[in-house]
Subunit: 158 residues, 2 copies
Amino acid sequence: MQRIANLIVLKDNQVLLLKKPRRNWYVAPGGKMEAGESIYNSAIREFKEETNTTPANPHLKGVYTMVTRDEQQVESEWMLFTFVSYDLEGIPFEITKEGILEWHPVEDLAHLPMAEGDRTNLQFAVSGKGVQYGTFVYTTDFELIKEDIQVSYEGEEH
Amino acid sequence: MQRIANLIVLKDNQVLLLKKPRRNWYVAPGGKMEAGESIYNSAIREFKEETNTTPANPHLKGVYTMVTRDEQQVESEWMLFTFVSYDLEGIPFEITKEGILEWHPVEDLAHLPMAEGDRTNLQFAVSGKGVQYGTFVYTTDFELIKEDIQVSYEGEEH
């Protein structure tokens, strides 16, 4: 099963996003975990590779079960781990083999073109409290069919 | 790839643990995620099935990459998601097909027989702040060869 870790940096009210060439959809920098890697190390490594910068103190904000479905048939299932950082070290690439890196005002997450599940995840990562969990079901063409979300908070004893 | 979710309840300074018959090792109640399930729903479902009780407000405390190695060969790799709750509803089973459920003072986590990685995870879950990540490498006989741990905290901007 594929495991993907990604990371969104929010700094000076701007977020660093990668515009992918295929649909011009925006994503947070990230990619596939390697064998034996922790999700934390994976998110940092992928972010460095894609941006040429080092994120400061990443923190996990979401763990998602991602499903694509072709008619009634499940086509694939994978896990997505989303981190946030509030600073980075270095100057980000502008153009990479993965796409174009752009800073956008955090409010733009509401309307920039992206997978609808990513919008839910990234908006939570930069503004939600606690950790978000959920399942996103997509068509193979990445139209969101269903989302089911849960949230929890540190130290909630009641 | 296997995904396991488990959950430790800490209530009145006691933790609810399952003593497994094979080695008399203690674990936190949990088990395999189902297809399309979120880690949160999975932890609750597994805890209910194994204990007959409902955990209150579970919160994610750890995400681990687990590896077993036979000599130099990786035998298997899976993900472990560990949650904590501070209360539960219902009366736990005492004996189940999985083992014996017992309450123990939380301090006993330091010396009860268990996999050494589980000791690290469960002690963090009940007393650590933030979220813990890491990789545990075991022999196929569950002797810990290597652990590599990271921790992060909510809202750490510097």
